[in-house]
């Protein structure tokens, strides 16, 4: 079974390398959205410092939305999804592997580049790790929740718009807690509470979301 999961992750990463433009689109979108804010709101350092966590979090959330459509759509179109549904591995595990691969491709690059973008906002350096850590815990939760939405809307007309309507409300708690972590750290309260909450969300979503997505996939491929 582990061989099958490794194989799914390896396959998705290999596909991402061969179609690197898809990966770069998400990353570029994130960088551009975040970089537009200082241009739009003006060069007031105090203001920029205040809005930095919120802006970076909202941009990360939108960027991960952008990548969601692709999670199952191409596998559905060429029939490889059917083979996963009929695989020897429990579907929930296969889906978990796909979500992990999806996060490595579309979430991890955002986490890694976020400290650099935060510097544009003159974000205090000693709190950069809180911001990065909050994204490192938060973006996998976004991928996990998004997978359920992507599986439910698979093969529908207007899936993109429906997916946003379905998934964005569920993203709100993650956004509030995630952006709150860096805010709390800056204001001297320490961001540990929020980071622990995000960690709890990650564990919870990691345990349940793949199975929910698996059930949704069975329904939407009928």
């Amino acid at each position: 079974m582990l061989a099958a999961l490794r194989c799914v992750i390896y396959r998705d990463l290999l596909l991402a390398v061969r179609r690197s433009s898809d990966v770069l689109t998400v990353l570029l979108f994130f960088v551009i959205v975040v970089s537009l804010f200082p241009l739009g709101v003006g060069p007031d350092p105090a203001l920029l410092r205040t809005i930095a966590p919120g802006v970076i979090w909202v941009a990360a959330l939108l960027a991960s939305m952008l990548a969601l459509n692709r999670m199952f759509a191409s596998d559905h179109a060429d029939g490889t999804l059917e083979q996963m549904l009929l695989g020897a591995t429990p579907l929930g595990m296969t889906v978990a592997a796909k979500i992990l691969a999806h996060w490595l491709i579309s979430g991890l690059p955002l986490v890694l580049i976020s400290p650099v973008l935060a510097l544009q906002f003159d974000f205090p350096r000693e709190f950069l790790w809180t911001l990065t850590l909050s994204l490192a815990f938060g973006t996998p939760v976004l991928s996990l929740i998004g997978a359920i939405g992507a599986a439910l809307t698979l093969g529908l007309r207007g899936a993109g718009a429906l997916l946003s309507l379905l998934v964005l409300p569920l993203y709100v708690p993650v956004l509030i807690i995630g952006a709150g972590a860096a805010d709390a750290a800056v204001s001297g309260l320490g961001g540990q509470a929020q980071l622990l909450l995000l960690g709890a969300l990650l564990v919870f979503a990691g345990a349940f979301a793949p199975w929910a997505a698996a059930v949704a996939l069975r329904i939407s491929t009928e």
Binding site: R19, D78, G79, T80, E82, Q83, A88
Partner: protein
């Protein structure tokens, strides 16, 4: 040529299928035993693919159930799927992967990892020598179908094959190869279900035929 151990029979009990408003078929019963070939015939839109998808467990029948070795396949899940090879309408091939990589992934997902040498052998058998390391994107429609069917040559231990229009897009030589593969598999004791428009010449101990009429 060794026999497959632990074969069971596939049994359809009172299957009904309604898609949208249309009733495709109703009260369908059959039993497919080890070594038997079932050919499903019928006009376009008569529900051949739906029947195959129900037999795989991809589609829920409106009523009735499919049993493998006497147990409902919805209960068996992975236990049933481990023994099944399904080649659907879609070739299940990723354009950006090579033929070898595609087969490697397909076999690993099915729980029977294969070495590159075995995969190369299967591709050669289907007349794809020299295409092993080409991305599937540059292959023709017929060649892609051959790659999808090369899985059969790698799944000799599976007691049940379900093939949806396996001969579509294939040339005469490839049809011949695939028919041989199926006949070999039947002689090994596996059961095979297929839909085809061609009058397939496959030697089988027992051949069943179901006609779904378009309504």
């Amino acid at each position: 040529m060794g026999k497959i151990a632990g074969t069971s029979s596939l049994q359809a009990v009172d299957l009904h299928c309604v898609r949208g408003e249309r009733k495709l078929f109703g009260a369908l019963n059959f039993t497919l035993r080890s070594g038997e070939l079932l050919r499903i015939a019928g006009a376009n839109g008569s529900g051949k693919t739906s029947l195959l998808r129900i037999a795989c467990g991809l589609l829920e029948p409106t009523r009735g159930e499919v049993r493998w070795g006497g147990k409902d396949i919805r209960r068996l899940q992975e236990e049933f799927w481990r023994q099944l090879v399904y080649v659907g309408h879609a070739n299940s091939i990723k354009d950006d992967l090579t033929a070898t990589e595609n087969l490697h992934v397909a076999c690993t997902l099915a729980g029977v990892p294969r070495q590159a040498a075995q995969i190369g052998e299967a591709l050669r058998r289907l007349g794809l020598a020299g295409c092993e390391n080409l991305p599937a994107r540059v292959l023709s429609q017929g060649q892609r179908r051959r790659v999808a069917l090369a899985r059969l040559a790698l799944s000799k231990g599976a007691p049940l094959w379900i093939l949806d229009e396996p001969f579509a897009a294939l040339d005469a030589a490839a049809v011949e190869h695939v028919q041989d593969l199926i006949a070999e598999q039947l002689s090994r004791g596996a059961a095979v279900i297929l839909t085809t428009h061609l009058e397939a010449r496959i030697t089988a101990a027992a051949a069943l035929r179901i006609d779904l009429e378009a309504t």
